[in-house]
Symmetry: C3
Subunit: 208 residues, 3 copies
Amino acid sequence: MAFNLLPKEGKFFEFLSMQAENIVKAAAAFKEAVKAGPFSEETVRKIKDFEHEGDTLAHEIADMLNRTFITPIDREDIYSLSNNLDDVLDMVNSMTNRIHLYRLNPSNDGMIAFADNIGQAAHALSNAVRHMHDTKRARRVLDYCIEVNRLENMGDQLRDKTISGLFEHEKDPIMVIKWKEIYEGAEATLDTCEHVAKVIEAILVKHG
Amino acid sequence: MAFNLLPKEGKFFEFLSMQAENIVKAAAAFKEAVKAGPFSEETVRKIKDFEHEGDTLAHEIADMLNRTFITPIDREDIYSLSNNLDDVLDMVNSMTNRIHLYRLNPSNDGMIAFADNIGQAAHALSNAVRHMHDTKRARRVLDYCIEVNRLENMGDQLRDKTISGLFEHEKDPIMVIKWKEIYEGAEATLDTCEHVAKVIEAILVKHG
Amino acid sequence: MAFNLLPKEGKFFEFLSMQAENIVKAAAAFKEAVKAGPFSEETVRKIKDFEHEGDTLAHEIADMLNRTFITPIDREDIYSLSNNLDDVLDMVNSMTNRIHLYRLNPSNDGMIAFADNIGQAAHALSNAVRHMHDTKRARRVLDYCIEVNRLENMGDQLRDKTISGLFEHEKDPIMVIKWKEIYEGAEATLDTCEHVAKVIEAILVKHG
């Protein structure tokens, strides 16, 4: 029974994919909530649940790393990718908390565009992670990473548009402070997605 | 006289421990100052002295790395851990400056809880660093890292509580801007502590 | 024809130097614009052009890494240095956008001092990168890195001075929000320069 000598190797990519897929689901839930209006306690709990699931997956990957001798790519790269994926979810969760805490109604054009953008970036990251194991087809993975970069660029433009609109139309400084933080958080979430893409690209470069 | 062939090896852990211990002392001084009320020039100077001491230790570690051929763990990991420990102290120093510059009285429940939390995180980090050399007992080090994660989670809750309280009770936008930065700085200090814990965990994973 | 067996090796340092030189030019243009008063569309476009050039150079380096088997220093270090240099330019570009977007007149003592400081840091980084290939004279490169650290320390002082001045003289909270972001962005640009210096130092440590 010499088949499948290194069953653990594949598991890393499987668990990283599960982490990415969990982000896709969280981003979809976030987008639905943004469209619907002010956040309920239930929305906050729902996103928190995704974040917990993400933490669990990250810990499982760390534990696997501790128990596995041979890894398909450098162990510190798996660790870094897993941590960076976790950061994306932390930021979605943090934005959700802030919107709720500040009692804001997020259902406006700018915020919906941001939520949509984050959803697409999560999707592209998930595709990139899912195909990473196939090192012979690195081009495909790189294309997903480029897609994430494109979405992050759009995020920069969205940020400029939403914040200049804010300074133009909102005269209450307290509301400016609150919304500025939310829009910046949305852009920072896309920056974090781009950072994950860069980690993936760096891994490909190393194995190129 | 073949004993102690590699005296330099142990020194890295000794100096990293001194760096961590220096943070413990700075955090204790910060906590005392927060409890006492508005910061004096002397408080600012005292914390600055700890930061200088930290810089000196970090430079000594970098110099040792330049002169040592064999290191107990990868040289770039020692370098990264030292830099990240330094970041914690930079943030405590930066918060201290800001509180003084903005002429705030930090002696309130939220800020005292933050200072206490930072003190505990510094203590846990110091314990983790002090036991890192004993790779056979990695579990103990990991437990200290988990303690840092727990304190960082408490920091997130503290941040939500202090900032929502701020928006509720403080009507002067200028004061909101100032205090929001201080509370966010306190939380970011705990994030940096957690980052150090992650660097330590990554080193353990690599040598696991 | 055995001469120049590894022509690609030198190219990495050449391209990294071009990236650094591009930052020097962008920082000079930024400084000129700051002195001249409110930013025109043309200023924004000019800085954006430098950023595009920087992106192109970073992509060319990444492509070279993908096609080159032997690299003069670890491929992930080249990749990291290139990305971090790119971050500096992103921040100069982002500050430029913000000043334009917020319709601010940047021609004041604090902002001119910041622009001057950033120009000097870019210059020191460029010198450091240009001499990196000569590993036997690491001391010279380290001196340029120390110069960057000094400029970053001055940046911290500038930040304290400009922001405390802001809270003292500016009574409109909206203007405080806008200027605070600009001054913090200027300091963060210097932090990023220091981060590049740390990446260079870490590479030297590794090869020390």
